[in-house]
Symmetry: C2
């Protein structure tokens, strides 16, 4: 983001006025509006702000600062200050399992700090459906809302403290989350999301005052919530489109975002189609026995030599304490290629676990293992993503070969081995140079939009443009899902290079 | 107002939706917006309303009612109801002396009831300047705001009770008042209004939630405040332009509104110029010894026969108890023509009062008199209006003869004798058929705008279009004012028909 392109969601605007004279005695408020009309129009200045203006102008030599926010339908003055104030914002990826929070300096466009934390809603179920069911109990929705807001509150307070950012100086937030997460944050009815015909309460929540929620930010801060296309294609993937700029491309571009759900958008500047498959949090450390978030000590790469010797790399080169998403993918691929795991995901020795790193080498003095449950969980995740992608292509009359670029987004950590991901059948077996590891595109789009509000219009337009394929109502999806519960797939012809590799490893 | 043209400031809109299906599972909120997009766009639906929508829709067979208000910058949903609710609004002329309140049925466009009451701010001074000075004392502004709101509150409560209108069903208000009155109602700083360079705090307050004020109406009702052109050309005259439709005319049209101030707009569909002269409340019953508002028992016509016999007509044909504005004008004209008052406003018998109706004939058993103070007060009022008009014409290079139509608006009561008003020099001596007695144009424009929100845009445009002549800074004004303190004027040649009449009466 070029600083000259900064147009943050909320900004402190310096106002310097020519005092009124007998030749120009337009009122104080209109004198301000006249100054702002090119950039901020229509502009609402609420009564409580108007009350402060006359004396402030006259005491402060006709200079002061206004906090102006984009409200979607119009601009609104949120606060007034005689002196300059620094301006920060939060870009948030609201995941079902992990929440990523970035503090951005809205004057320079620079990232100040970032953190990620567990979504405390997990106490009400790792699976989203469990939480949606819980929301129907008395005060269930309220508790779910409180727990996600508490998670963010703690993360923001910690980050603010560590980085010397006062909450009062945080004036804008962008939040990208899936449809259910966004509804739960807003305290909205979710019971129609997961029942036919899968109807959210709202597609575009728009911009809402932060005062509606208990957050440690400026009381007049505003929050933009990325819109959803349907019950299972959420604001996180819309934010991902903004980040990857698929809407500006030619050819057939694919954005696959694997979080707790697997969301997919396919398209270009002319058209876009999207769908989602329930993936489960296998890659986010929420379900896998030795799984963990991408943090120091997490195994992110895993290799087994032809001699059976195990090599791995951890984040920060610390002693290993668990597996993050990319480590899990890498590990399953290697176990499969070395025949420790068979085609169906069963351990060759018929045990129900495999020791990846013995206790003597780990950071916590316990074995790091992978279990047959972990494998089964993972196969469901990858098969759901895979099936969704296949149904989408079939509906479009296209095949893997038509893909121009494949953006792999999601909770993999910093490192992802494309070769491993293809080996296990998570990604299609296409030319490797078409892949782009895109990281957390949800938070990337949230950052971009926080810094330039023009992206809000874009996000709303893209949402309207995406044709949504409802897989819950699609029989083909279940067929593909079932045939995908293998490594790499029931139909090995879909993965010619993997077939070749398996052969070469066996010889 | 034709019912088919009704587009009230706030309205209950019936929503009937096709339930979602697998082929159309757009979210609840967007399903509603889709239905409303032609008429109400952009539309804000606040979070607290969104929360109520899903269950309401499903319990109520996908039908319900939304209260939608024009917010100036956008439309906003203010309330939701499963059943139809009646809709009323208030059109208010916020005078310094008298406040007129009309209850309108916003579904039929009919007037339900009207009342007028004294502005309780009068306890802080009959003169506006006294109140503006008082506003500078500790809590002065707050007390002034409270007293005007209390006045309206009492009037509305009484009217509502008498007419079976529940406050909850009053959803919109339009308030037309002069610049100071509007500022005091809003609780805004007024100290710059009356000091050079005469700068209001705000020209266009726009639409504000009624919840900012303590009024017996729907908590989400909205109030439109008519904009002002400057410190002394207020929302009441802008409302008057809307009522008289000068902005649609050819020729040179004049709107003179005499309340506590005399405000004048001259122009047509191409251009408009406005100014104001401090008039004082001589015509509103606030200053004149036996003055009263236009109510039953007020003398509205007065005549003295050549034989010196006094005849009068009262409102409602009740025994007389005082003089309303038109009665005062009529009375001074007759006293002048019968040589009881001379050219300078002095009683011929050198007394300082004259008995108009003896105690034996009055409704309260006391003489109804007119005093030399009353005459002097009145002459200042008429001279201020006259001088303002003369300066305006001079600036435009026009004369009385150029007037196409003369709208006489203000607090005269129901009846006004144009001949008498010319005789005393209040109105110019032009062809009688050019006059139109327009009544309370301030409240008429407020009614019109309450029933059709398109008039808001019009009012804002007209305000920007009017060139404002600041008379406080004009030396010519004081000259004209001084020479106007005579009946009809120092320069009798300006009033040829009066000159003629005086001659014929003397012979």
């Amino acid at each position: 983001m070029n600083v000259t392109n900064l147009a943050p969601l909320a900004e402190w605007v310096h106002i310097s006025l020519t005092p009124p004279s007998s030749g120009d005695n337009v009122a104080d408020v209109e004198r301000i509006k006249r100054k702002l009309q090119d950039k901020f129009s229509p502009l609402e200045i609420p009564l409580d702000i108007i009350k402060k203006i006359p004396s402030l102008l006259r005491r402060n030599n006709w200079q002061f600062y206004l906090l102006i926010a984009d409200m979607g339908t119009h601009f609104k003055v949120r606060d007034v200050s005689p002196v300059k104030r620094t301006n920060f914002g939060l870009a948030i990826d609201l995941g079902s399992t992990t929440i990523a929070v970035y503090i951005m300096n809205l004057e320079t466009g620079q990232e100040v700090a970032r953190t990620s934390c567990l979504n405390e809603q997990i106490q009400f179920g790792t699976d989203i459906l469990d939480r949606l069911h819980y929301a129907r109990y008395k005060k269930g929705l309220q508790k779910l809302q409180e727990s996600v807001i508490t998670s963010i509150k703690k993360a923001v307070s910690k980050l603010s403290l560590e980085n010397g950012v006062s909450g009062e100086n945080i004036t804008a937030l962008t939040i990208a989350g899936n449809t259910s997460m966004t509804h739960l944050f807003l305290g909205l009815e979710t019971s129609n999301i997961y029942r036919e015909p899968y109807t959210p309460t709202v597609n575009s929540p728009g911009i809402i005052s932060a005062s509606e929620f208990d957050l440690p930010v400026h009381p007049e801060a505003v929050i933009y919530f990325f819109p959803n296309v349907g019950s299972y294609l959420g604001g996180d993937i819309i934010s991902g489109v903004i980040a990857t700029e698929i809407h500006l491309t030619d050819g057939m571009n694919v954005l696959v975002d694997i979080g707790t759900n697997g969301e997919i958008v396919v398209g270009n500047k002319e058209w876009m189609v999207g769908c989602a498959g329930a993936a489960g949090p296998a890659l986010e450390g929420g379900v896998v026995k030795c799984g963990m978030r991408a943090a120091p000590g997490a195994i992110e790469q895993f290799h087994i030599t032809p001699e059976g010797k195990i090599k791995y790399k951890t984040i920060g080169d610390k002693p290993p304490i668990g597996l993050c998403g990319s480590g899990l993918i890498s590990c399953i691929a290697q176990l499969f290629l070395r025949n420790i795991l068979d085609h169906s995901g069963t351990f060759a020795n018929n045990k129900d676990y495999f020791v990846l790193v013995p206790a003597s080498e780990t950071g916590h003095g316990q074995d790091i293992v992978i279990t047959s449950d972990d494998i089964a969980n993972f196969l469901r995740t990858k098969s759901a993503v895979n099936a969704a992608f296949s149904v989408l292509l079939e509906n479009l009359g296209l095949s893997f070969e038509d893909v121009s670029r494949f953006y792999a987004a999601g909770a993999f950590g910093n490192y992802l081995d494309i070769e491993d991901a293809i080996t296990i059948g998570l990604f299609p077996d296409i030319s490797r140079d078409k892949f782009k590891i895109a990281g957390n595109t949800s938070v990337a789009g949230a950052k971009k939009t926080l810094l330039n509000r023009e992206n809000i219009k874009l996000a709303e337009e893209i949402t309207k443009k995406i044709a949504y394929l409802e897989l819950n109502a699609d029989a083909k999806f279940m067929n593909y899902f079932t045939s995908g519960l293998f490594i790499p797939h029931t139909n090995l012809d879909l993965f010619p290079s993997v077939k070749q590799k398996v052969k070469s490893f066996s010889t």
